[in-house]
Symmetry: C2
Subunit: 218 residues, 2 copies
């Protein structure tokens, strides 16, 4: 048997992390060599430990898994990144893949799926959770807007801040006083962000927030 696969766990929930660690370490061909509770620490840990595979949760404080994946991919092209998520939305998947993730596993899936996925990406292949494969296969042509270059500018951090607070149920006025801005400015950020995202209603903002995992753990 060759060397064991060296795994870095990036996941903010300690309980989940411990669970995965025990699961991984119970395998003969892999071991957890490091842990990180946010994206920044994950990047530091990769620099120090050079793992073979990073198991990366999307939703983490400070620097989320999506951004951490992008950064890691830029600095460490050979590292394999396996994204772990709660979401089944394929719109998100597209972002992940373009960020450079090698695989995508749902937290809902069986533990053996995770182990399979780690082996698969560790071997240099890409892995897509079976539950997602179905989604991706059907009805993808409708979501090619970003490929046609219609993604004119991404959401700025200010806009994101406003959208997030809107999704939480704050009024424009409340957001204004919270961010120390005029209501009018908040309205403008909201409108610009919505135009960029191609959405027209408050419900779409909530949906977007759910995908961004903004509505968790607050």
């Amino acid at each position: 048997m060759p060397e064991k696969l060296r795994i870095l766990l990036a996941e903010d929930h300690l309980t989940v992390r411990e669970g995965i660690k025990m699961l991984v370490n119970a395998q003969p061909d892999m071991e957890v060599i490091g842990e990180a509770e946010n994206g920044n620490k994950a990047i530091q840990a990769v620099q120090m430990l050079t793992p073979d595979v990073v198991v990366m949760d999307i939703s983490m404080p400070e620097l989320n898994g999506l951004k951490a994946t992008k950064k890691l991919r830029a600095g460490f092209p050979k590292i394999k990144i396996l994204t772990l998520t709660r979401h089944t939305d394929d719109g998100y998947l597209q972002q992940l893949i373009s960020a450079g993730s090698n695989g995508y596993v749902l937290k809902q899936s069986a533990p053996t799926e995770l182990i399979n996925a780690i082996r698969t990406v560790g071997a240099g292949n890409s892995y897509l959770d079976p539950a997602l494969t179905r989604k991706v296969m059907g009805g993808y042509a409708s979501r090619t807007s970003s490929l046609r270059g219609e993604t004119k500018g991404e959401i700025t951090s200010r806009e994101g801040e406003v959208l997030r607070l809107i999704s939480f149920g704050y009024s424009n006025k409340e957001i204004g006083s919270r961010l120390d801005l005029s209501i009018k400015t908040v309205e403008a950020h909201k409108a610009n962000a919505m135009r960029k995202l191609g959405i027209t209603s408050r419900i779409d903002i909530v949906r977007y927030a759910i995908l961004q995992n903004w509505l968790q753990d607050n």
Copy 2:
């Protein structure tokens, strides 16, 4: 050493469940004797297995941990229920305790906390996560409404329907046409539900929805 504590795990995420199971089974004085992925199955499992402690996730499909706790408490007064949650909201805690939970642990906490908590409730005491104790100690006097008997009745299904749609970002008008009601009726349900919950703002509705897990996986 006496008998091992017999644990039932009620948690919908298989990965998390596996993690906890390994953790529990690694202890000399406790073991997992059954698992359930929703509240209904948990109740069935309790009837069949009569565990000492049920580790119950709040957010589960079909029947959530809150309702399952209430039902179990009615039928099995001696069973200890330890609530496992992602949330730090103390308003929710009150509901849990009145539902009959013996303890409350955050998923974010260290695995040893969970083990401690299981031992504590298994011994017949109640356990409150240290992270929550702080919250509960400070500024609780403001939230004693339910102790004064102002919790006149629970949210009705109609009210819940309305709250859920509000949390999703629908306007009263949209909810009205969706449920085929006058806007005025929607407003009334909203106001009544808010009065019952003792909340006053849209943000509180969203928080409530997050706790109810209404905003996940749609």
